[in-house]
Symmetry: C2
Subunit: 263 residues, 2 copies
Amino acid sequence: MTKFDEATRAIRVDEATYDVCLDPGYSIGGPLNGGYLMAVLLRAVVDASPHEHPVTTGVQFLRVPLPGPAQVRLEQLKAGRTVAMTSATLVQDDRPVIEARVTTATLGDTAPDWTDGPSVAMPPIERCVRLPDPGPESKMTLNAQVEMAFDPPTVGWLAGNPTGRPEARAYFRMAEPQDPDPYVLALAVDALPPVVFSAGALGWAPTVDLTWHLRALPAPGWLTVLGGGRMIGDGWFDEEVEVWDSAGRLVAQSRQLARVGRG
Amino acid sequence: MTKFDEATRAIRVDEATYDVCLDPGYSIGGPLNGGYLMAVLLRAVVDASPHEHPVTTGVQFLRVPLPGPAQVRLEQLKAGRTVAMTSATLVQDDRPVIEARVTTATLGDTAPDWTDGPSVAMPPIERCVRLPDPGPESKMTLNAQVEMAFDPPTVGWLAGNPTGRPEARAYFRMAEPQDPDPYVLALAVDALPPVVFSAGALGWAPTVDLTWHLRALPAPGWLTVLGGGRMIGDGWFDEEVEVWDSAGRLVAQSRQLARVGRG
């Protein structure tokens, strides 16, 4: 069991209740990373489902949870032969913190019938850049769990040179050796810095809704995580992320709607 | 009040319950159109919200509802100063038919800070094509409510000439004179034929999850509805729709994950 498997473990209490323990090692400047929290929820959902994979996940973030014990409460909405649908709530101190709706199914291992290839080409990994170590006092503890190598222009904002467009692109893998799986993908779709940083809008950018789709089971190796957006306006922005695996296959797609941060 | 306003009316019973009447005039070969059903749900959600606009809507389709009376049951998940979050269930014969999660907020009327323009250029409307009238016996009653003019290659599948790619593009407006509003947009994001038809995969393509975001209030006039997708495989496809208004503004974005139909 890897550290990530341990940190996302959900222990069955009964068919509708799982105990979890939110790990302080996945924080992004204080709050826990949304992708990590989704992975925790999905462990419980899949354990309780007759199907193997979380194919669609839609999440609303109601409150900021704290590290420590919490519960996942499940409600089966539909149990079909092909798909099951579940409502999952992360509850802490008897208050709902995150609401999720998940469709589970069992994906096969067939080649795609049609695909268009990645929307943007990445430079080779040796020309990509790591972010500076935030240091032992940092609250960016997520950085120690994952390894990311960024397409240089998309992190130009760190040096005061934003590209002026919403974008972020990186190679991604767990720091501890671990093949990617659907839970690692839940982390990957929310691991990039907010794409608006590259458009010059820094500051905490709270996500209102995040929906992602598991499209195929990822091959071992680096993931390529491509983030963009279509519009920034009226205090809102969309962030679209595609995750491609080392075999060149689209394995996950996400979109979130979030509020633009204030410096 | 237009026919569409009437067909989507939600009458308050109490703060958590609305009576609705599902109109047979919005069917697509039998089942009612998903966009129409979302519009009905959203009427109730917005009426009960302190905010004016449905900014994010995520929907799971559990069962096929029948025309006739139904109820919308609401649960407030969060009531914040900027956004409220609501769970809404369409119930018929005491069974949940559709589950939705909606974020409401009040959008302003500012110009976008950044936008990239439409992903694909449309030909002028006079070079676009209408679909043949399905005739009075047809179960495609939705066709009489809306006016759509299609980018010709994207409906080549009707004559046995699919483009081989998932795509569908059309100009869209209500048949009865009505300025577009968020409820019309809910209809527009699900009004195109499934994009997989153009890739050669005909047949009923059931949607599992549809999430859409209202990005701005639409200007009067035609809407431009651009549909595409990123991958078809393992019996699943994604459909992405962007809606642009007559002022050239991105007003809605949607993505659905659906099952490929069997001819």
